[in-house]
Assembly symmetry: C2
Homo-oligomer: 226 residues x 2
DNA sequence: ACAAAAGTGTTGAGAGTACACCCATGC
DNA sequence: GCATGGGTGTACTCTCAACACTTTTGT
């Protein structure tokens, strides 16, 4: 820290891993790169930070550019900064991950993307830069958080049945769960309330639930540091 | 991500929160700033990244400059990037935290510090920049990790008694632990081995232990949800 | 002998896990 | 009435927390 201007500065970007649940699957939003390097390959949405916006604001801006949503779960994931991760030069990226309910989003291509679409986390295309590493880490973190917080709800629509909730957990964790134990535990946690409505379909109609606002607030309070 | 040169670049620094256990206390290494801004105030050691080194290498370099040690526990903590956190302009800092055994270190002042010394985490001086926030977060993370991993050992010398280990946990967690439960739990985790030596002093001599480096250190996390 | 720290077991409560059948509806 | 998914209870195991006295050494 000798002198302020002595050091060449890296470029700094923010990348946002956007997860959702669609088609009974855990999916992630990717964009196809319009420009070199890695032209035509798939990448996590992101972009350069602006000089007067916070990192979180930059992540929210990217998120909104790609999905038109705000007010979703967003958490800083990790900062990736290997000197050779971008062939154009030194680029450090602060990765975030976001959880959005599928029904709230219609992906749209941004400026630098020819195309944007959902991909299954379990069947990904080849990815630009070190984005495979970033996604692998994001999945690990999502699974881990699911085990001790209630973030799973952030991926579901406003109301849902217990079977839908259980299916969400199973898809993300990649394992089957016992129905009775799941229901007992989730109900005794006191974070759900019945809506009074039912979902009909094949078989017996299922009670619809929503998250209790106060419980969701508690989870949200714990989510982001500073 | 329109064009590479369109964006003014922020400066990027790495700050390293260096924890140790000394004098029966959890302490952190701070340096007194020689230059403005915040001249004369205490700060977490850190500095600008070099254009061709990775973030982790930069953190290791800072750590070695301040403490002359390598090969200690080092983990990326969080990236702080509010636009106004440094009055000189836009500076993003990638914070790391390091755990060093007290007997391995003799702090030394670096280039930009008039002075370097250990401070109790529980009696800190006023800090430069947003370093109070960084330290608060580092402590939270350290406590959290202590509950489900074996990182506590990284703060202790090569060999130690169970009472010393317990005292370390108590200082970091800020609470008293039951001796019998602590011993049973830590021994049944199978991560310690006896050295065969004893530490003598006042009272009955105590067995010395060391950490088994082949042990899987992760203590099973208790899940909030299935 | 006494001070000082090391070391040691049991019990009760609560949480987690495994497991199989009846219920309400649409067709 | 039958196919389909929704909904329910119990017994066993394991983990965690609370709690007090004996042992070994140095002086």
């Amino acid at each position: 820290m000798t002198d302020w201007d002595d050091y060449p500065r890296p470029a700094v970007t923010v990348d946002v891993v956007i997860f959702t649940l669609r088609e009974g699957d855990l999916q992630v939003l990717l964009i196809r790169r319009r420009n070199p390097p890695f032209q035509g390959m798939w990448a996590i949405p992101g972009g350069f930070i602006r000089i007067d916006e916070s990192l979180e604001d930059a992540a929210l801006r990217e998120l909104e550019e790609e999905t038109s949503v705000r007010d979703v779960y967003l958490e800083q994931l990790y900062t990736f900064g290997d000197p050779d991760r971008d062939p154009r030069g030194r680029v450090i990226t602060v990765a975030y991950f976001a959880l959005v309910p599928a029904d709230a989003v219609r992906p749209r291509a941004g400026d630098d993307a020819a195309e944007a679409r959902w991909w299954s986390m379990y069947h990904l295309p080849p990815l630009a830069f070190d984005h495979d590493k970033i996604l692998a880490y994001a999945l690990q973190r999502l699974r881990y958080k699911l085990e001790y917080t209630a973030v799973g709800f952030e991926l579901l629509p406003e109301t849902f049945t217990l079977s839908e909730l259980q299916a969400a957990y199973e898809v993300i964790l990649g394992e089957k769960l016992d129905k009775r134990n799941f229901r007992r535990k989730i109900l005794s946690a006191g974070i759900l309330e019945e809506t009074g409505e039912y979902r009909t379909g094949e078989g017996r109609p299922a009670k619809l639930y929503r998250f209790r606002d106060d419980a969701v607030a508690e989870v949200k309070a714990r989510r982001l540091f500073p």
